[in-house]
Symmetry: C2
Subunit: 319 residues, 2 copies
């Protein structure tokens, strides 16, 4: 059977919802469904539910499935495990083995940002690229690093944690317990913190001053920036500056052809791309200058989590 006629299931285990899709080799989602992940569900109860839902999706569509890919927080590709995922309250759970055994279909696990990078490489803006870094700018900053056409999992399965590079010495407190991590600046959450910091530093009027910090979102800051709000505009410029500067360190390691941005904050388009590219070009070694392009995902607006998980299954399918 040629790769073209194959079908895969992509599953995204999120903190709120679990979403799955039946995807063809060309990246078309033929059918999808979702269910509430639940609050700290017991792993066996949750996985019984997941297996039943996948089985239902397969049965409904009547396609032979070549593989199942699963993206999950702290998914370990090597072991097929999900390990101490934040929000789920699990220990280490051998998700790939349990799903594969129940459905008698090969299953693979990785984290959501890695899956997104595979999705970008298989169906998105990186189809011609052997070396790139995908950055997801959501609540935090996730990343997937591709080298020589393969995802970098590292020695133990947790490579690609660019969100936890130190961007600012003794900087903002991060959820990981350390200070100054890149994701505390460059993410949807980070830009809100930057807006508050800017408000604290100066007296210019700003629409942000009328929003309670608890309600402030990166989307609001974007809307205000589009209206010409100076603090909102500066918040984007500051965010891009820190992101671009820090990406220069990652570029010194793997020299990607592009940095591809995805996620809520990436919806701001040129407002985040332009300052990031500028700071990056100022910060890289002269030999890299002008060579590494900051660009938007080719899958913005599509379900990259499901496509990425399906791409995970397809990428390693050898039959």
């Amino acid at each position: 059977m040629s790769q073209k006629e194959k079908f895969f299931i992509g599953v995204d285990i999120g903190g709120t919802n679990t979403v799955m899709g039946l995807v063809d080799a060309g990246g078309k989602i033929l059918d999808e469904k979702s269910f509430a992940t639940g609050t700290r569900p017991a792993p066996d109860v949750y996985l019984d539910k997941l297996n039943a839902e996948i089985a239902g999706l397969i049965e409904k569509n009547g396609k032979k499935i070549s593989g199942i890919g699963i993206g999950a927080p702290n998914g370990n590709f090597y072991k097929g495990t999900v390990e101490q995922p934040p929000n789920l309250g699990w220990g280490t759970v051998p998700v790939a083995a349990i799903v594969s055994k129940a459905l008698n279909i090969p299953a693979l696990v990785t984290n959501d940002a890695n899956a997104a990078a595979l999705g970008e490489m298989t169906y998105g803006a990186a189809q011609e690229m052997k070396n790139f870094i995908l950055i997801t700018l959501g609540t935090g900053l996730g990343s997937g690093v591709v080298v020589n056409g393969e995802l970098v999992y590292g020695a133990y399965g947790f490579a690609g944690e660019l969100g936890h590079m130190t961007a600012v010495e003794n900087g903002r407190l991060c959820g990981c317990g350390r200070y100054g991590c890149l994701e505390t600046y460059a993410s949807a959450g980070g830009i809100c913190r930057t807006a508050l910091e800017l408000l604290s530093m100066e007296n210019r009027s700003s629409l942000i001053r009328d929003i309670t910090p608890n309600n402030l979102t990166s989307e609001m800051i974007f809307t205000f920036a589009e209206k010409g709000d100076p603090i909102a505009i500066d918040a984007f410029n500051e965010t891009g500056k820190i992101l671009g500067k820090k990406l220069a360190d990652a570029i010194a390691v793997t020299e990607p052809r592009a940095i591809i941005l995805f996620g809520g904050l990436a919806n701001a388009g040129e407002r985040i791309i332009t300052p990031t590219q500028k700071a990056l070009d100022e910060a890289v070694l002269p030999i890299f200058r002008g060579k590494v392009k900051v660009m938007l995902s080719g899958l913005q607006g599509r379900n990259i989590a499901v496509l990425g998980a399906a791409a995970l299954a397809g990428h390693y399918d050898k039959n």
Copy 2:
């Protein structure tokens, strides 16, 4: 012919001397020779000389050579070129093609630190490792990054420039024209600068105060540290601290199993290893803590440049 019975030529084009060796597949240097590189030699004159010397070495030993590997500053693996090498005064020279054509043997080029990483993987401390980073602590800081058992060359051939990650914001002026690059702190030259900075900061007596800065070497600082000189001891601790802290950023990208140190400053052994490991473990994400080991090269005291270049030829030899 099995890989075991094969022979390779490894060539190290250095600023002062060009060294070459005839190496068997087990990493034994059967014969070696060297000649003065000369001051800014014309590329054609130099390469005629190089080809004649390689031919002489081969003829003398009567072995069939399966490949020639060449390590050179700014060597580009993809193109087989040496591009604007510092000290040689060349433009872009297609070294691999010229050598290969003259001798009718496959030839490959890469930079010296990349070659060293391949040497470490083939004959040294990384023989069992698929993911590691080799750091050469010489005049500057060179690096070779290995992921999934393959060297990372990047999109354009210049990956692995960890010496030019920014270690200190607005820090020391680097030879590359930027400020605060890691190699201005963590290298044989960097530790001398750190010793001077420490002397400037305090009044403790030190043997270093009797050495002119022009004559100060990292070996002297090591000797003084061994004698208990407090500034010399602190210079090593500071160097390891900055190196370990910055390596945490590289670890967030590729998650190596080990950081392997080679070169003049690595001869200091535990004096540099211990503070580097400590700072690294403090700076990495909790999930990496205790997993990434800082260790010495398995080739210290051997000619890693020649072995690495021979390993380059052997690694990509497909016959």
